[in-house]
Symmetry: C2
């Protein structure tokens, strides 16, 4: 049973782009790039009603609706659909899996045509601009030269920011949620410990695990458990779990005794079935190095062709706190880019951007309604 | 060169206690317990000027002074010494390594006399009360029936609290810094992920690594790196490291590129030479389960024979925030226990209790000066 307001049953499509190769920011050329994507709604004749969704670290192309036979919808189904904040009665929505990912788009686990083996660590180190170039490649394939908006949270928001800085002509509006223009030392520290857990796993085999039949499964699940702590607020953990026992009373052992331990273990295990350890290394590293405003001329292109921005932060987000968003706002306002900023009250932490919070979704809806008037 | 104000060159001593065995809270009997300890200053004739120091998770008996040949003093040297806040011209200071530890006191890496092999995971699961019983055993050995004060930070403060609750007759004053009477779900989550990193390391061998010649070194270093993130405030990380590169410019790789990564790796590696993975599991688990006020009668004994409390928290401590200390204060005040509480301004996070912060040390000094008047 597909619930009301859903885009219904959807399929992930794939396309091969960049027949002449994609030169990544590192200078290394990927001879071909496959991109997995989904679309929802209908592109209008003027091709002016498209919205691009950029996913976060472990997201994928399946943002909304149901794959045939699934009982869980896409990761952002609560915001995308007929009558929802990103209203598919108005908008044609595109979401693609990120370059370097592992859910249909070319990444380190893909076959390197030059060797017939998986790329592994021969895959080039990526940059935020590489993600954007692949999104633009898909846009050309779809025949869309300008999106009414690009939208993303966390790493997704960072892609939207980069896109607006480099190619403002592509975007009418940029919606950036719970993101950062520059990770703090503590952010990098969490990211680094997760990577170390993966790279020190005996199954990692110096990154050659794909051809050696091993996998750093334990390290990857530890990295995921650790990251999960940063996705929720302390309050959210306390609300959800407190000190309650997984089964009946606390047993007193080293295993999974508290409910919070069981939750983290489940998150760690579930992650293994859908994520590749090398993608985790590649994508987290892009976030660490991201620092666009370090270049004093970062805003020059955008200043000449301003994109309107909506920035949203969440009060209890301690991964990318409101301070991160304020920093982006300051840079944009100094450059006189039209900027709206909302800090949303939420007790749920960083993952708030994925939740159906009425103030948040109302803010997004109102902002996109203005965009809809302009394209009408 | 021993600096002025130091207690000078010291030695760790060991003693075998509990000839008739120590029955742990779990009911399992340890047939003998070795305790490593140090003392500084001189016990007066009335045996009334003793102070007991309880160390934190990874501390040891070497709190102050220098071991012969070492160029680094004990872990709390800045507060213990002639003229320092815990003034060894006045006080006879005792510090012992905790039960279950790995720095001279019996723990899971010790030989089980019943088998001639290391205990490993046959070591009994411990409770905060077991730590206190061993401290009391050492006190009897030293001929001290009452301490003017017990002092500790973090897990050390939790031992002091437990001691005062169970045996208030042993203590004149209890000084509890940056501690908690009950870990939150987030606290347990960090603790659990560290343990999982250790237990999932292929060198862990279901806890039998000591007899199999392996060691979960990678897991233990990951656990330590992770824990270190929680010991410092976000601000402290930013101050110390920001986004600066380990060498010259950022290189762009998966290894150790940012200075903060190098710092964490160093902390992780250094830890391996001094700490046992099983001790880490046993001691962190005691903290998770600690919840003395869950028993409505927890304060009955203390109420009948009140110990004076000084509780100190630090503004930027996000491991055991001021809220944790306030909870202890509320319980004590409801029971009409004489309680002083100070929140110290500090930007350094949980580890502030180890630092030489003038307001903090002045508070401790003034509090102990009152104790000195009473014993004079």
């Amino acid at each position: 049973m597909i619930p009301e307001g859903s885009v219904g049953v959807v399929e992930t499509q794939t396309v091969r782009l960049f027949d002449d190769g994609l030169t990544t920011r590192s200078g290394i050329v990927l001879p071909e790039v496959q991109v997995a994507y989904e679309t929802y709604g209908t592109l209008n004749e003027a091709r002016s009603n498209a919205i691009y969704i950029c996913h976060a670290l472990t997201g994928d192309a399946h943002a909304a609706g149901y794959h045939a036979g699934d009982d869980r919808p896409g990761w952002w189904d609560n915001i995308i659909g007929p009558g929802r904040a990103i209203d598919t009665d108005t908008w044609f929505v595109v979401c693609s899996n990120i370059l370097g990912g592992c859910q249909g788009t070319t990444g380190p686990a893909s076959i390197n045509p030059a060797t017939g083996e998986p790329y592994g660590t021969d895959f080039p180190l990526l940059d935020m601009t590489d993600f954007v170039e692949v999104h633009r490649g898909l846009a050309r394939h779809l025949g869309i030269t300008k999106f009414a908006a690009a939208v993303g949270g966390s790493l997704g928001g960072m892609q939207v920011l980069q896109w607006a800085l480099d190619h403002p002509e592509d975007l009418g509006r940029a919606l950036v949620f719970a993101a950062s223009s520059r990770l703090t030392a503590q952010n990098i520290a969490f990211s680094a410990v997760g990577r170390q857990a993966i790279m020190r796993d005996s199954g990692f085999n110096e990154g050659k695990f794909l051809t050696r039949g091993t996998a750093p499964r334990k390290g990857l699940s530890v990295a995921r458990m650790l990251a999960h702590i940063t996705y929720l607020s302390e309050h959210a953990f306390q609300e959800k779990f407190g000190r309650s026992a997984q089964r009946g009373e606390l047993a007193g052992n080293f295993g999974i005794d508290f409910a919070v331990e069981s939750y983290l273990e489940y998150q760690g295990e579930r992650f293994l079935s859908r994520f590749d350890a090398l993608s985790y290394l590649y994508l987290t590293r892009v976030m660490d190095y991201f620092d666009p405003f370090a270049d004093a001329r970062a805003l020059d292109t955008l200043k000449a062709d301003p994109v309107r921005f909506l920035l949203v932060s969440f009060t209890s987000d301690w991964r990318f706190s409101t301070e991160h968003t304020r920093r982006i706002v300051r840079h944009l306002e100094e450059a006189r880019i039209p900027t709206s900023f909302r800090e949303i009250q939420s007790t749920w932490g960083h993952d708030s951007f994925l939740l159906d919070l009425p103030d948040y979704h109302a803010t997004v809806r109102a902002y996109l309604d203005k965009a809809a008037e302009e394209i009408a």
